[in-house]
C-alpha cells in the first residue's frame, strides 16, 4: 500500500496514539509493508524523541541554576597539598580551641575572693617603743584580736589615723570588707588633709582590696588604676595591667 493513502493528519494521529480499532490495524499493516511510510514515521518519532529530550534538559538546566546557588560550597579536591593545609588548619583550630578553653576557664573561675587572696597581706604592727608603750588597740591588734580592735575603735567617737587604719585592717582580717571601707577612707582623708603620708599609700591599697572583695568593682578599678598610674606610690607595682584587666572582667559578669 502506498503511503499516499494516508494523509499527514492520519500519520500524526497514529503517532500520538489517538488511532484505534480498524483504522489503527489498517495503518499498522500498511506501515509494515511500506518503507517510505516507515521512514516518514521514524523521522517524526525521532523528532518527538528530540523534543522530549530537549524539554527535559531545559527543565533540569533550570533547576541546575537554582541548585548551584543553593549548593554554593565549592567541592573540595583532596590533594596532598590540601591535605597538609587541612591538617595545619586542624592543628591551628585545636590550639585555638585550647586557648579559648583556657581563657574561658580563667574567665569563669575568676572570683573577687581569688583576686583578693592574691594581693592581701596582713599588716604587721611595728613596735618602736616597747610593749609597755602600746595602746590598748595596738595590743589587741598585736595579739591578733581583731574583733576587740573593731569593738574598741567603734566605742570611741574619734580615733587616731593609726587606730582607724588598724580598724580597717581588722575588718579585712575578719572577712568584713564592707566595714573596712569607712575607716580606710577616714585615714586617707585625714592624711591628705594634714599632708601626712604614714598610712596613706597602705590605706589606699587596702581600701581598693576592700572594694574588690565587697564587689564594688568600679571603685576598686578606679583606685587600682590611680595606684598603677602613680610610679611614686608604694604599691604602684602591685596592680599590674593584667590584674586590673581581671578585675574588669569580673565587672562584666
Amino acid at each position: 500500500m502506498d503511503n499516499s493513502t494516508y494523509n499527514n493528519g492520519q500519520i500524526l494521529k497514529w503517532l500520538d496514539g489517538e488511532m484505534t480499532g480498524e483504522e489503527k490495524t489498517s495503518f499498522e499493516k500498511a506501515l509494515s509493508a511500506d518503507q517510505q511510510l516507515q521512514a516518514e514515521v521514524e523521522s517524526l518519532q525521532v523528532a518527538r524523541k528530540a523534543i522530549r529530550s530537549y524539554g527535559l534538559k531545559r527543565q533540569v538546566a533550570g533547576v541546575h541554576e537554582e541548585m548551584m546557588k543553593e549548593l554554593q560550597t565549592p567541592v573540595k579536591l583532596i590533594s596532598s597539598r590540601r591535605r597538609i593545609i587541612r591538617y595545619t588548619i586542624s592543628i591551628a583550630a585545636s590550639i585555638l580551641l585550647v586557648f579559648v578553653g583556657i581563657t574561658a576557664y580563667n574567665f569563669f573561675s575568676l572570683s573577687p575572693e581569688r583576686l583578693y587572696g592574691q594581693q592581701f597581706n596582713s599588716y604587721e604592727l611595728i613596735i618602736t617603743r616597747g610593749e609597755e608603750g602600746l595602746t590598748t588597740i595596738e595590743k589587741f591588734y598585736k595579739d591578733k584580736n581583731y574583733r576587740a580592735v573593731i569593738e574598741a575603735t567603734n566605742q570611741v567617737s574619734k580615733n587616731s589615723v593609726e587606730e582607724n587604719f588598724l580598724s580597717g585592717m581588722s575588718y579585712l582580717e575578719v572577712g568584713n570588707p564592707g566595714g573596712a571601707i569607712a575607716p580606710f577612707r577616714e585615714v586617707i582623708n585625714r592624711d591628705k588633709a594634714t599632708g601626712g603620708t604614714s598610712y596613706l599609700d597602705q590605706a589606699e591599697y587596702d581600701l581598693s582590696l576592700a572594694y574588690l572583695k565587697n564587689k564594688d568593682y568600679d571603685k576598686a578599678i578606679g583606685l587600682m588604676q590611680t595606684i598603677h598610674d602613680n610610679p611614686g606610690h608604694s604599691y604602684h607595682e602591685k596592680f599590674t595591667k593584667s590584674f586590673i584587666r581581671k578585675v574588669k572582667m569580673l565587672s562584666w559578669r
Partner: protein, 201 residues
C-alpha cells in the same frame, strides 16, 4: 518556605516515572548526590564546570532511563547514578582524547556496577548537538511541540496558550513543525542514528 522531603529510592523512582513534581525530584537528587559525584569528576581530571555539566547530564540521563523503565532497582540509585556519571565522563574524556580516560580512579566496588545506558544519551556531544538543532527551530514550533510532547497539554489547552484559532490549525502546525524538526535532525546523520537507536533501545 520550601519543604525538603527525604525520599526513599522507591519513592523517588515512582515520582520520576510518573512525572510527579520532576523539579522537586531533581532538587532532591542534587542535594543528595551532587557533592559526591562532583568530587569524583574533580578527582579524575575534571574541572568544577565539568563536574556541574556532567552531573546535569547524569540527571537528565537518569530520568530518561527511569521513564523508559530501564532502572529496575537491582542497584541503589546512588550506585546507578555513580555508574551513569562515570559513563558520561568517560565518553567525554575519550572525546577530548585524554589518557586519563584509561585511568579513572574508582576506589569503591559499587562504582563499578554496570549500567544499561542504551536508552539514554550518554554522549555530551550528541546532547549538545540535539540542543542546538532544536534551538534552531522557530519559537512557535518549539512552543507547540514542547506543550504537546513534553508538557502533555491537550490540543484545547494549546489553543488557549497560542494565537491559533482552533485545534485543527494547531494540529496542522504541529505536524509541520515535527516534520521540519525531523528533517533538521536528518542533516546530522550521527545524531539521527543515535536517536533512532534510542527509539529501539
Amino acid at each position: 518556605m520550601e519543604v525538603i522531603k527525604q525520599l526513599s529510592d522507591v519513592e523517588l523512582i515512582h515520582r520520576v516515572k510518573s512525572g510527579i513534581d520532576i523539579n522537586g525530584s531533581v532538587k532532591f537528587i542534587y542535594r543528595q548526590y551532587f557533592e559526591n559525584l562532583s568530587w569524583f569528576i574533580m578527582n579524575n581530571s575534571g574541572s568544577r564546570q565539568d563536574a556541574e555539566d556532567i552531573f546535569q547530564e547524569t540527571v537528565v540521563g537518569f530520568i530518561e532511563l527511569v521513564q523508559k523503565d530501564k532502572f529496575r532497582g537491582e542497584s541503589s540509585i546512588k550506585t546507578f547514578l555513580f555508574s551513569l556519571n562515570r559513563n558520561i565522563w568517560l565518553n567525554e574524556l575519550k572525546r577530548r582524547g585524554r589518557a586519563e580516560a584509561r585511568e579513572l580512579k574508582y576506589e569503591k566496588a559499587q562504582d563499578k556496577a554496570e549500567t544499561d545506558v542504551s536508552s539514554a544519551i550518554v554522549d555530551r556531544e550528541a546532547r549538545n548537538q540535539l540542543m542546538k538543532i532544536v534551538s534552531g527551530l522557530g519559537e512557535t514550533c518549539k512552543k507547540i511541540l514542547l506543550m504537546f510532547y513534553y508538557e502533555d497539554l491537550s490540543m484545547k489547552e494549546i489553543v488557549e496558550n497560542t494565537e491559533y484559532e482552533n485545534e485543527q490549525v494547531v494540529r496542522n502546525k504541529k505536524y509541520k513543525c515535527l516534520k521540519q524538526l525531523g528533517q533538521m535532525i536528518e542533516t546530522n546523520p550521527a545524531l539521527a542514528r543515535t536517536l533512532k537507536n534510542l527509539l529501539h533501545g
